[in-house]
């Protein structure tokens, strides 16, 4: 091995930086060349020192670590980034990798694993804490279960006015009554109705009511169907 891999640590907790320093000191092929307590300072150091790796805390006083990652990926694509985080929620993890991180390590992990992660990332390998990867895999495997949590994509395309009209129609108001209620012309209501049915891919008033009932727009008994 010729040269050491250089590392910049960006974390606002001096105590944690200290710990990390002594931990990284265990591996002679790694060297910390700079330390920063803020995102601004960290970005400046990376620009100046061009390290192989930046270890960035996910929450920094000025900006969050994900934003720093995103910026570094465009300005210094050769610098690998490891996110250190207190969070173990999957959203943070996916967000970090989407932003371009190479590794994601939870701060409470075993020290060996932290070091392992930093080493792997410095070699350019993706690394996810094994305590986490278990969670993540479980989540991914649980995809069929996702059906119990649905965001209705079609309904999302309705405009505010269409939502309003849909509910009134589902509640049984006639076109005329809806028009009177909203102070618009029956013709406009008809246009909206047409657009709603097209967007939701439904073809009759009965279907519209059923759809509204499924979403809970109108008050019907769920368990009795």
């Amino acid at each position: 091995m010729g040269s050491k891999k250089t590392i910049v640590v960006v974390d606002d907790h001096p105590l944690f930086r200290e710990g990390l320093k002594s931990l990284i000191g265990r591996n002679p092929s790694l060297e910390i060349v700079g330390e920063a307590g803020t995102a601004g300072e960290g970005l400046r150091l990376v620009k100046e020192l061009k390290p192989d790796l930046a270890v960035v805390d996910i929450s920094l006083p000025d900006r969050n670590g994900i934003e720093v990652t995103r910026e570094l990926r465009t300005s210094h694509p050769n610098v690998r980034i490891v996110i250190m985080s207190m969070h173990s929620k999957i959203d943070y993890i996916t967000e970090a990798f989407k932003a371009g991180a190479t590794g994601y390590i939870v701060k409470e992990s075993a020290t060996d694993r932290i070091l392992q992660g930093i080493e792997a990332a410095s070699r350019g390998e993706y690394f996810l804490d094994s305590t986490l990867s278990h969670n993540v895999v479980e989540k991914l495997l649980a995809t069929p279960d996702k059906e119990s949590k649905i965001t209705d994509k079609r309904y999302n395309t309705l405009s505010a006015r269409e939502q309003e009209i849909m509910r009134l129609l589902a509640e049984g108001l006639t076109t005329k009554e809806v028009a009177a209620r909203l102070c618009i012309s029956p013709k406009t209501v008809e246009n909206h109705r047409f657009s709603i049915m097209a967007k939701l891919d439904i073809h009759s008033s009965i279907e519209l009511v059923r759809y509204a009932a499924k979403l809970g727009l109108i008050d019907v008994d769920l368990w009795k169907d």
Partner: protein, 489 residues
Amino acid sequence: MEPLNLIIVEDEEAHYQLMRLATLKELPSARIHHFVDASSCLDQIDEIRPDVIIADYRMPGMSGIEFLQVLSDGNRDIPVIIITGQGDERIAVQAIKLGAWDYLVKSSDSLVLLPRLLQKLISGRRLRRSLLEAERRFQDLAESTLTWLWEMDRDGNYTYCNPVVAKVLGYPAEEVVGRNFCDFLHEEERENISRILPRIMQTEKPSSCMVIRLVHRNGHEVIVETNGAPVLDKAGKLLGHRGMNRDITKRRRAEEHIRLLTQQSLRAQESERLKLSRELHDTIGQELSALKIGIDTLLDDQPEEFVHRMGQRVVKLSKMLQETIAEVRNLAYDLRPSTLEQFGLVQTIYQYCDEFSRRNGIQVHVLCAGMDDLDLGFDTRITLFRLVQEGLNNVRKHAEAKNVSLRLVASSPMIIFNLEDDGKGFDVQNRMMSTLRERCMGICSMEERVALLGGTMKLDSRPTQGTRIRIEVPLRENVHGIKENHRGC
């Protein structure tokens, strides 16, 4: 009813006796005073204060007609019945013109007719008295009540106000009568009301509990609750309205104050939770993490023999620390989910429900629609999340449910939130019973949160049939830092 007090002026004793007997037969309690001429009657009339006088037309001295004249000159409002002879109808007409109440022609029928006339007089007197009483009762009530009573014509012009109006509006009743009720409306109310005014004024249905803002003479706002009913004529044509206004300004202010205080206390609670959560997560958590690395690397440069001796203990400490860190992190998250700001409400709810399902073995089916691209105001976001939290916690604690359905749907201008479980349910009527008090607390707290957002909450439950909660709150988005309401025209 007092007995009838009667004077008979009749010079023929026999005729007087006949009249007396005929009267007493029908009106046994009547008190009868007899005079043989008009002037002796006039001497005592003010003492006797009769209800009615029966006077013969032909009398010694003063005639019946002259007698009538004297009575009306003296401003005595006593009904008089004049007795005339056969063929004296001309005199009868004259008597009526002079103010006689009625006349009776001496005949075989007159003794039958007399008691009837008296009966008619009594019932008329009764009617007048009850009318007077009713008017008096109304006057007394109208003047002693704290409610402003009013009448207005079809155009909304006041035609009557009781004196209370002066207390409410600062204007004496005389100054209000004749003016239109729109004149007293609060500026911000005027446009709304004048738009619906024709409809209100033409309605023939009573209106109840309308809340209207008016302006006091000295400029401050007065809030009244008004109840009114239409006034119709015999043909059913609308004449106007009458009703009452109750000054609820103080009550409203107090309610507003309570609402504000509750809101402030909830906000304070949230900001305190945020502070605590941040402190736990960012300071204590981070320091514990640093401490853990410190412990883990403690033995790095130590002699072999020392490592051998201490190694196990260090590993144990490190493991304890790791558990503590996880606990701190979970606590921080429960206090305030950091994902709410970073990944939004829907994602946070999904995550929360997911964990709830796993921890408690209750399947939570979540359905969100139209919620993804909303930039909800902070109050709405945190309230909806807390409603999910509290709702699910109620289910966990009380429902014994296997499935929960949670649906959150944007339906401009409202957000509709349905939470239903298939648990054991409860009797909503008896929910104040002590065994259910804890449950009630959970529900009351939800109701309070919903009310603060200006929403409504409906609870439906029956034993063995699960519980359904339906909440609607106004959809308020942040638009360039300004809150905007979704609303129609």
